[in-house]
Symmetry: C2
Subunit: 186 residues, 2 copies
């Protein structure tokens, strides 16, 4: 656990493709044992992302049912989006919550900043717990109204058994919310 | 929960960039309410991925400490890799386990196929529980030897508190392994 290995030296980074959402880079590496290799990584054009776990006083998490272009299917997910320039992560979380769930939160807490696939992506997501919810609607960039689906936070095994729940990052966020709420209730 | 909304119609899919690991597509969508939009998604060039949770008879999960090019840091992760042509997901899991941890598994079980960020990526990862481990080493494509770090599967809160544990997908896999092992021990 205490091994201090020298990090690979980055000899060169080159952007080889760019689109509206993504940038793809090659990274030329020299490992401390002398080995060299070229890795690839995708960067997001966003400053960063937020993923919000809104929990009601009844211990229900407010999921949304939204079309996901990756698998081309409607799935149960958590409200999320990009952090806009000038916003803090918590401000972005509250805005996305209003746009996608129709709630604001009087209490917002950063649970952890997590990666999706650090072996090939730089993207980081701020996982945010939102409690003390109140009705608040903001206009977002959604192309159709989203359905809000309350789910007992204590019943995650039944949620992960569903075919329309597939996002690993959402499960990670729900588990961190459980840990935090249990610690607070002790 | 029972809303049956008609999926958006995909009017066109166009690849706009391609690299060794990634392909980026635009997807022209027409929603059932008439709205149209162009989304973007990244596809992986891999057939699919596997992420393995190797658990010992002592209830420890065998993590690895590996350089991650996304955050440019050594991190605690689970063994993983791409499914090669002709391999089943479980075969790929056992191969990666031998290459990265120096163990084979007599018992391999698919926990769930999960997405990373379905709003912008098509990539799917097969999360696999590996038990009944035995020593077995296979030569992989690693550029330096990996350090194996055993961690009690029952102590996930301490793991997620670490700065060098950031991968949401790994946490999801560990939690699913907990659920499965608890169900088996009942």
């Amino acid at each position: 656990m205490t091994t201090e290995r020298r990090k690979p030296r980055i000899a060169a980074v080159n952007e080889i493709a760019r689109s509206r959402l993504f940038s793809i880079e090659t990274v030329d590496l020299q490992f401390s044992n002398g080995n060299t290799a070229q890795y690839e990584r995708a960067r997001s054009q966003l400053v960063g992302g937020v993923l919000v776990v809104p929990v009601t006083v009844d211990g229900e998490v407010l999921l949304i049912r939204e079309y996901q272009v990756g698998p081309d299917a409607y799935e149960l997910v958590l409200p999320k989006g990009g952090i806009e320039v000038g916003e803090t992560p918590l401000e972005a979380a509250n805005r996305e919550l209003m746009e996608e769930v129709g709630r604001g939160a009087q209490s917002l807490e950063l649970l952890k900043v997590m990666t999706l696939a650090p072996a090939m992506m730089s993207h980081r997501t701020h996982l945010v717990l939102a409690t003390d919810l109140y009705p608040a609607l903001a206009e977002g960039d959604e192309h159709e109204p989203l359905e809000v689906v309350p789910w007992p936070l204590d019943d995650l095994p039944a949620l992960v058994a569903r075919e329309d729940f597939t996002e690993a990052r959402s499960l990670a966020a729900l588990v961190l919310a459980q840990y935090r709420l249990r610690a607070l209730s002790r």
